[in-house]
């Protein structure tokens, strides 16, 4: 994957502010209902499959991370993202969930469809259905980011991000079925079976 990023910003530009850890007390901005992305859209939900996404977060010692804030962001079942100038009532695949005392998170959402790489991409450049995942916590000075893919999707074989991951580690970002309409992906911050974390 080539890095086509310019080294320097234009001279008149300012520099992005530094991230700092969410710390251990971010639950003040935890709203458990946010873990259900469908909550605002009753009656206006696009056609699609309602799914549950679960998983755990563990650290490098194998300890459960019970104070993490997990966020998801994904397209709708037709592979669309909301248009900032479009219908404000359109579905948005954004969720936030605190890990519980077992280090687990649980989202209710709609399964995303294949997404074009860019706004002008052809059908030959579709990404496999995926969910952007961000984890914030004490000890994470910036959030760590990855993607969740779904096992068994034909497009997984050609997805530009998934195929850039060494084959031996792809399993760390592919969710497995965990019952009817339920998918599970355990996240490991560090060590054996470490999740493929991404520089976004």
């Amino acid at each position: 994957m080539a890095d086509a990023t310019p080294e320097l910003a234009p001279s008149e530009a300012t520099v992005a502010s530094a991230h700092q850890t969410a710390g251990p007390y971010w639950h003040l901005v935890d709203f458990p209902e946010w873990a259900d992305t469908t909550r605002h859209f009753a009656g206006n939900l696009p056609e699609g499959q309602r799914i549950v996404i679960t998983g755990s977060v563990t650290d490098g010692t194998g300890a459960l991370v019970t104070d993490a804030l997990v966020e998801i962001w994904h397209a709708d079942p037709q592979g669309r993202y909301p248009d900032p100038n479009g219908d404000p009532t359109a579905f948005q695949g954004y969720g936030r969930c605190a890990t519980d005392k077992q280090g687990r998170f649980r989202f209710t959402t709609l399964k995303p469809g294949p997404v074009p790489v860019g706004p002008h991409a052809g059908a030959n450049a579709m990404q496999a259905p995926h969910v952007a995942v961000a984890v914030f916590a004490r000890g994470l000075l910036q959030h760590v980011s990855t993607r969740l893919y779904f096992e068994g999707e034909a497009l997984n074989a050609t997805d530009p991000v998934l195929t850039a991951v060494p084959e031996a580690r792809r399993g760390t970002i592919i969710a497995k079925p965990a019952g009817e309409n339920a998918w599970n992906l355990d996240l490991r911050l560090q060590g054996e079976g470490e999740t493929v974390w991404m520089a976004v």
């Binding site: 901005v29 914030f136 004490r138 493929v196």
Partner: protein, 237 residues
Amino acid sequence: MSEVVHGYRRPQTATQPPLNSPAYGSTRARHPQQPLLELPHTLTETSSPIFTAARYPETADLTVLENGAGEAMGERIIVGGRLTDEDGRPIRHAMVEVWQANAAGRYNHEGDDHDAPLDPNFRGMGRVFTDENGFYRYVTIRPGAYPWRNHHNAWRPNHIHYSLFGHGFAQRMITQMYFPGDPLLPLDPIFNTVADEAARNRLVSKFDLELTKPEWALGFRFDIVLRGREATPMENT
């Protein structure tokens, strides 16, 4: 055929804190050890949830709770500033979430066992939206310092946590605002994980007489910059 994705600029080294920062002990078992995979920016990264005050009501005054019995204890302050991207463009109508300890340095959180009083009139959570020019403003009390167990006699400087969204999920950021002249800043491992001095100091708010309201409260200005777009679109072939 190639398609064009207008991605976001990558961070400049030393202006962001490294995930592996040994002086901050909690990073030890939580930082990834494998190199991060450089993710090309696609629609997933350049699109963002859209928040509105209709669905996410504002709490612009943290000193008074709905149905509360009185005002929060402590030094009332006004905090305001501007949210822009790296090209100086305002981020309009963006949701700004804040949370903080009370004046005594205690969080309204079951995990905080610091021997300092809770304030029944202070929850410590706020939410506001930026205006047409990217400005935001809220009223709160100045948070107290509090001890933590990172090292001997460790105290966090006064700070307010910020959670921010831009136009793309790649701009997502959580950070902390500090206060000018705080003697704990040079000693704080979290603040000092930002190696670049200028970048570090941009996390320190400035006393602002314009924001200050006579006979009522001091004002502090805190501007925040989210990543800007790349100068030229990236070609994905």
